[in-house]
Amino acid sequence: MAIEALVRVMIVGLQIHFKLRADNKLFCRCSADQSAPADSNTCQVCMGEPGTLPSLNQALLLQACRAAALFKCKPVSPLRFWRKHYVYRDLPKGYQLTTMEGIGVDGVLQAYDAYEFIKSVPILRVILEEDPAKTVKASVDHNRCGTALLEVVTSPVLHSIREVKSCITTAINMLNAAGIIDKHLKNCFRADVNISTPGSARVELKNIGSLEQIELALLAESQRQAVDPATCMETREYVPLLATTRLLRKKQTVQEYYYLPEPNLKSRQVSLPSIRSNYEDYQQYRKWLPATRAWSYANDPFATNVIAKLGITKILLRKLDLCKRYLKNSPYPPLASFSDSMPLETFLKGLKPGAKSEISVSEAWKKCMLDERFKACWNNPDDRSLDYLVGMLIRESHKPYEVVNAFMKQHVKTQ
């Protein structure tokens, strides 16, 4: 009970690193494909050869700005890149180029767990930086070196594992819906989790790449801190096999990265794009919004939240093919009945089949019998065609499966 009580009062802040959806790296024209053989997508710039200069990929900068706009951040202008120095084998140049001050600051993320609103999480800053190389046992693969990384830093306002998971899941879904990341990509994110419990100093758990591991790591660390609280700031890593965390280093003070402004990249005046006015954004959104499920979003607060955040107004929805396809030959109210002053949620509810738009199964059967294929299957039913018949009747009548199945049993002459 004491451990559960401590788990409930943990204070957690997140630094989530996302791989940006990109064809090229951030400061050179190498391919960002990391599935290629080791060290095959490299050049003198990303390998850090003496004399080379970085050249910023403007498309990736725009992607990062869109991400900052998605989290309602305030822009940081002028935008400058800094050198963050540390010596490790995965960093050929000896320093990492990062927008230390961030692209956007003081944003907010509304975290949802499925359909339930969990918490409003303040976003401290959104940072664009380059990824170091990938260490694979004793060797280093530089294909990843120089690829773009988006870092989202939250305030330490999360107090439970559920809040942490919902925060990360919401961020992933939002960025994926906007086309900024690909959540189906392996290792699309990794998180540095900062956790402290009463009586213990802050501990940073580095490079955790899945939600399950985050949950296990938080449980293990909170239990460990209950027994052996940290006296100073520590950096640890989670070891899955041992189900515990392992000390990497202790920090007496904030590590000196010896930040220097990068003089080979111009400082830029940036303004965060207005996602509402960008037609391409919801064109991207269409790819991840199944047309047949448009009606289900009416009762899905998370989905409506995403839609609202991406600025999909009802006027734009009206133009989308999915609405036309859905409303074609349907018994739903015509579009003219919806006014511009109607709230978005009401408009979406109007798409959902209500009691008025449902028809009886027998009426649906009469409509379907006009179709040649349906008629043929009805007259000569077998196991495969029965599923087709049931599906067609459900689609036309919008009745539950049990009702349609009962109708089928009553009327279909099976062999």
Partner: protein
């Protein structure tokens, strides 16, 4: 060529005589036309580019610098010439005996290659006057553009914030041609270069740093020639401090690239400093570089490098206050065409460049050469 070399001897540090061959790092012949040499910190693909240090003794770049790519289309590349270790400017070279003044500067080899008539022109780099000094001492010309005028891709820099390529030659006409050739708007990999450079803006203006020994007649001559001369008051000590801080910080930063060299400037850890110092010495850093890094103040977390523009601004008064002690008029800030560095303060020449953004062109006129002003006007395209 060898017979010419023996007539120009070099005095080594120990008093022994060396021939001019010691200024060569590597000889090659590419292209056609007038010959040129590159300083040893400018990348040549497949050729050892060591920047005067044992750290990069076996380093062969996998790419050509933008300077070489552009020049070989019109001129003949003769080879690379030595420079002191990472162009720091102290005269030490781990690989070759140090070449003493009167050539001087980190572009020692460039100076000697011109002086010994080995090549028609040479391209070096300048942080704080490394091309100015050999030109002045040996009485020939040097031209360096503002930052971003000539692409720095392929230049192993000492200080990224101040370094830029410079050209040395006896012939100012050739100097002008080469300089304009390098200013061309072709594809470049230096982000700062990607802006168009217009060498013939009007009205032409010159920013000069006043010093007590300044030749008043030179200013009058320039004024009569149609230049708008703008005086800039500079606090010498403040600028020297700025120069030392900025160059040392970026040297430390760049050394991380070269075989993982690291230098812990934390003065609290004395044992680590001694160990690191020994490691660096074994790795081939010159004593001068090590001594500079030892003086590097311990940087706190996220402490930025100093800039000239720290003092705040008061545009309502028409001045820009820099570093609390330097005043610039708005005219001076707008003087983006040319900056002229008077030889008396040549060691501060490079510091005028950030004052005039990246469009400034510095023309370094050797002392006593005011009578050659007609060549200067030709150089400026008048």
């Amino acid at each position: 060529m060898h017979s010419v070399i023996t007539e120009h001897s070099v005095l080594a540090a120990d008093g022994s005589l060396l021939d001019g061959n010691h200024c060569w790092e590597q000889e090659m012949l590419l292209g056609e036309g007038r010959t040129f040499a590159l300083k040893a910190n400018i990348a040549v693909k497949g050729s050892i580019t060591n920047a005067g240090s044992s750290l990069l003794a076996n380093y062969k770049p996998s790419y050509d610098s933008d300077i070489l790519r552009r020049l070989v289309t019109k001129y003949r590349y003769a080879g690379s010439v030595c420079c002191d270790c990472f162009a720091v400017g102290t005269g030490q070279n781990n690989r070759l005996p140090p070449l003493l003044p009167p050539v001087g500067g980190s572009s020692t080899g460039c100076g000697w290659a011109i002086r010994a008539n080995l090549v028609d022109f040479a391209v070096g780099t300048s942080t704080g006057g490394s091309c100015t000094e050999p030109a002045i001492q040996s009485r020939f010309y040097s031209v360096q553009g503002g930052r971003g005028a000539i692409s720095r891709y392929g230049v192993i820099s000492y200080c990224d914030q101040l370094d830029r390529p410079a050209i040395l030659s006896r012939d100012p006409v050739l100097l002008e041609q080469v300089f304009n050739h390098l200013l061309g708007d072709d594809e470049t990999r230096d982000e700062l270069k990607m802006q168009a450079f217009n060498t013939h803006k009007s009205p032409l203006s010159v920013v000069y740093i006043y010093s007590p020994g300044l030749s008043v007649s030179l200013i009058e001559t320039l004024t009569l020639a149609g230049f708008s001369c703008i005086q800039v008051s500079v606090n010498t000590e403040a600028l020297k401090e700025y120069y030392a801080k900025v160059t040392t910080r970026y040297l430390y930063s760049n050394l991380h690239r070269y075989d993982g060299i690291r230098f812990n400037p934390d003065p609290r850890d004395h044992r680590a400093s001694r160990e690191e110092r020994d490691v660096n010495r074994r790795a081939g850093l010159s004593d001068s570089i090590v001594s500079r890094l030892q003086r590097l103040p311990a940087a706190g977390p996220m402490q930025p490098a100093p800039t000239l523009f720290e003092g705040g601004q008061d545009p309502s008064k028409g001045y820009h206050l820099i570093h609390h002690e330097i005043l610039l008029t708005q005219d001076a800030l707008n003087a983006r065409d040319y900056t002229m560095s008077i030889p008396n303060v040549y060691n501060l020449a490079s510091l005028t460049t950030p004052l005039c953004e990246e469009y400034g062109l510095q023309i370094l006129v050797p002392a006593g050469m005011e009578s050659e002003l007609w060549r200067l006007r030709r150089l400026l395209g008048l």
